[in-house]
């Protein structure tokens, strides 16, 4: 005989059923209120329908197991439970943000991910988007989406050493340029150029150099450290690419400082060219590391087959 209300059940059985319904209600917290009430009413009438006044606790437990866990009920309703991993990242007004501490995997997944066709990826750190240079390289037919199993893992150590030499040489060149020319340079150097390429703001010679030099030096030392200590391949690739960007920015700005100070050179195309080169350098470095990895994979596999 079905019962009319849960209060018809013995105390312990009733407590069991009520706890279950309360748990389901909690799991459905994020659901539409009307839907939640409907589901709870359905579950309750199912319990009433199938239980007798003399039901044992085992009967109740069996019936509840049949109905499924509160989580499976909310999943069936399509209620999205916020995963703890998504704390620190998400979207605001459609714009992605991420304030989690960047990991090598995440940096590589956003900046060099040939297998993913998306060019605009959520920014590694901060708000907005980053360019997936791996997808750009695929579009330009410079590599295949699957030319490496995991980016840079097959890239040989000598290739990393050669790649890190690029920012090292640029940074060393800046220092050399400063030491050689420091006495011929005026005490005040340009700190900013307007859109026409004319200097419109100045600062101390040593401040001007120091700022640009540190901008190149810090990421370069980080990259050298990651290569020397054999950090994971993804991290080495990421730090070298990063150092390539800042070392080329720093050394190009320093070169621009020297040229505009020592000559009367002015041109509108300097800024776009500078930005283009600063982007091309890390792109070239990452592409080169990826192709070195592909070559290593091919040599490994093709040597085996030719020996068979």
């Amino acid at each position: 005989m079905p019962i009319q209300s849960l209060s018809a059940l013995p105390r312990e059985q009733r407590h069991c059923a009520e706890t279950y319904l309360r748990d389901v209600a909690a799991a459905l917290q994020a659901a539409d209120a009307e839907m939640r009430d409907d589901v709870l009413a359905d579950l309750e009438s199912h319990l009433l329908e199938r239980l007798n006044a003399d039901a044992t606790t085992d009967d109740v437990a069996r019936l509840i197991a049949e109905l499924g866990s509160p989580e499976s009920v909310s999943a069936a309703l399509g209620v999205r439970v916020q995963a703890p991993a998504s704390i620190g990242s998400g979207r605001v007004l459609g714009i992605p943000y991420d304030v989690r501490v960047p990991t090598a995997e995440r940096i590589a997944e956003r900046l060099w991910n040939p297998s993913d066709p998306r060019i605009w990826m959520p920014r590694v750190f901060g708000m907005g988007w980053d360019v997936n240079m791996g997808a750009v390289a695929v579009r330009l037919h410079l590599i295949e989406p699957d030319s490496e199993d995991v980016p840079f893992t097959s890239t040989p150590p000598w290739a990393f050493a050669a790649a890190v030499a690029v920012p090292v040489v640029m940074t060393a060149g800046m220092l050399l340029g400063y030491l050689v020319l420091r006495d011929t340079l005026p005490a005040q150097l340009p700190a900013h150029w307007n859109a026409q390429g004319v200097a419109d703001n100045y600062w101390d010679q040593s401040t001007a150099f120091g700022f640009l030099f540190l901008m190149a030096l810090v990421p370069t030392l980080w990259a050298v450290w990651s290569v020397l200590t054999r950090r994971p391949a993804l991290l080495r690739g990421a730090t070298i690419g990063f150092a390539g960007l800042f070392a080329s920015l720093g050394s190009l700005l320093w070169l621009l400082t020297l040229v505009t100070t020592l000559t009367s050179f002015v041109a509108w195309w300097v800024t776009p060219l500078l930005i283009a080169v600063a982007i091309a350098v890390p792109f070239g470095i990452l592409l080169w590391l990826a192709r070195a990895g592909r070559n290593a994979e091919q040599q490994r596999d093709l040597a085996i087959t030719s020996n068979l």
């Binding site: 091919q298 596999d301 085996i304 087959t305």
Partner: protein
């Protein structure tokens, strides 16, 4: 309701992409663009080229497939994919599940015998 149906269809597709890709590789080893081509000959699966490669790298990471470079009769070497032993087992389990689930659903929809 239209939106809900669309999301249902896309969920079904998402679920079967994996078994479709593994099934293709069970017949013979395949290279990336060959897989893309084979899959695009089944438009009802609606698998875009862009989703095949991320899927391949995920399957490879989970150890169900394996890859090797091989010389190609035309052009540069190709990376071929094939099932590993655990991939063969996984595919067998997925096939069994697919068969029994689709049989049950068809029995309901088409009113056939149980």
């Amino acid at each position: 309701m239209v939106r809900e149906q669309e999301s249902w269809v896309s969920q079904i597709r998402k679920g079967v992409v994996e078994v479709a890709v593994l099934g293709l590789m069970a017949r013979e080893q395949m290279y990336g663009s060959q897989l893309v081509e084979e899959l695009s000959s089944h438009p009802e699966l609606a698998i875009s080229a862009g989703t095949v490669y991320p899927l391949l790298s995920r399957l490879k990471k989970s150890g169900v497939i394996d890859s090797t470079w091989q010389e190609s009769p035309v052009g540069p070497p190709r990376k071929y994919y094939r099932l590993t032993d655990s991939g063969v087992t996984a595919l067998a389990e997925m096939t069994a599940a697919w068969t029994s689930v689709s049989r049950a659903v068809n029995a309901i929809l088409l009113g056939g015998a149980r």
